[in-house]
């Protein structure tokens, strides 16, 4: 009886030492999890996930406080990438946090703007150019479409405009999940062809104005 206890105790010590040694010797150095999660998130800094920015959300996921399906701008691809990284099952976007929309940018209507700087202070990536009582304008390339500038504007002069796809940004549609959906591919008419309802948004106007002379 005593010998059994002693033998097991010695074995436990040996294995414990072996495991401890292995934990140190074969340790894998890698990025901390938060960095990896943050790299996947879209950096819109919109706050729809209920955290004040993408970094805090990444930290919450790493701690296990937040779920992976709270990011609408990231959409399905972000959820799948996070699921892949964390070894979990992907799940559909939580509708409480919003829905996946096409990428949009903010556009300030210059006729209405009063130069109050409230939107400049609200923008998390400093994409709005302007100063007190001077014209404000959104730098299109830097705008992430987070919508945070809309509430502060006292004259409601900011619109969110969808970015139109060009032949450079266009991607193929997803062919479908179930075999049954694929029947429609046989004689499908591409919806992009029906461009009848052209809205006159400022973004569209810039692309069609082409002068003959060079810049």
């Amino acid at each position: 009886m005593i010998t059994a206890i002693v033998a097991l105790a010695i074995l436990a010590v040996i294995f414990g030492l072996a495991l401890g040694y292995a934990a140190v010797r074969f340790k894998v150095e890698g990025d901390p999890l938060v960095e990896k999660i943050d790299a996947i998130l879209p950096q819109t800094q919109c706050g729809q996930c209920t955290y004040p920015g993408c970094r805090p959300y990444a930290e919450a996921i790493a701690k296990g406080e937040a779920d992976i399906n709270q990011c609408p701008p990231g959409g399905e691809t972000t959820i799948i990438a996070l699921a892949d990284l964390l070894g979990r099952d992907p799940k559909p976007l939580n509708p409480e946090h919003g829905e996946e929309k096409a990428k949009r940018v903010a556009v300030i209507d210059e006729q209405v703007c009063i130069g109050c700087t409230l939107c400049i202070q609200a923008c998390p990536v400093d994409a709005i150019l302007g100063a007190a009582k001077q014209m404000h304008t959104v730098i299109e390339d830097e705008c992430t479409g987070c919508d945070l500038c809309l509430p502060p504007c006292p004259v409601d002069c900011i619109d969110m405009v969808e970015i139109k796809s060009t032949t450079d940004t266009w991607t193929w549609d997803f062919p479908g999940n179930l075999p049954e959906n694929l029947a429609s591919l046989a004689n499908r008419v591409n919806p992009a062809a029906s461009n009848d309802d052209k809205t006159s948004s400022p973004l569209e106007e810039t692309s069609s104005k082409k002068t003959g002379t060079e810049a």
Binding site: A186, N187, R188, V189, N190, A193
Partner: protein
Amino acid sequence: MKLNTPTSPHIHADISIRKMMSRVLIALVPAVITYTWFFGWGLLINMGIGIATALVCEFLMLKARKRPVHQFITDGSVLVTAALLAFCIPPLAPWWLMVIGVSFSVIVAKHLYGGLGYNPFNPAMVGYVMLLISFPKDMTVWLPPFILSELNFSFLDTLSAIFMGAFPLGFTLDALTAVTFLDLIKTQLNIDVTVAETKNTHAIFGDFGGIGWEWIGNWIFLGGVWLIYKKVISWHIPVAVLGSMFTIALIFYLKDPDHYASPMFHVFSGAAMLGAFFIATDPVSAATTTMGRVIYGIGIGILTYVIRVWGGYPDGIAFAVLLMNLAAPTIDYYTQPRVYGHKRNEP
């Protein structure tokens, strides 16, 4: 003018699942005729029961899973399952055996795993194994060849035997049945009668295997070769199964011909031929890479031999196939071909 904009390619080979399944059934026809010649109408009746059950179960499951019924019920895959299961069941087995087997195959082994293309195990084999384990007595009452024709069992007699268990002329099933060839070898070897002695004393020995069964094996072989020619199946799995079975049988036969049956016997008896060409080649549950298929086939061949010689059952094809079905995804993972432009062993 609104033009249709489907995606390339805009032409397609003249092949579909229905065509493939029809060809498999056509390849079975010569074997079915031979079987009926030797063993009576039982097979055809069982096939009829099987096909009817299969279609009914498929219809019910498709409706329950809210899938398009017409598209799937006409693809012919359940017909092949029913036909193969009918081959595995004794010709005078009661009707409910077929019904239970086919329903289990279609409902559990196929649809509960996701339907066509998603079953990890060969449905016919799952059904067969379930029947074998649940109703061992009914599943092992095989007939000797020609006995039904000697007794002038007509078609109606066979029907009444299957559906009502009523045998004419006062015969019972026990009186009719005899051991199959494989079973005979196994039991004789257990009591230390050599193979050669068994061959001489028992009439059911043919040239290669049991009388009747070896002819069925021939026709299945030819049907399988036709399927390979028509590119319905590839040659890797049948060659691997038969080749490995032949090789391992040869090794042991050369070592001790008295206690191990010859490789030709093994290859032509039981469900070896059927398994090699029709069962193991089920695309959904088999391995898919070329090398993977060869390994898969070798596994089945060796396992079948092992179970036949040292295992508890006279024929091991069903278990061998199911065991290798388990291994198929892993085999696929480790046998990926080298992609153009990459070096070997590159990620």
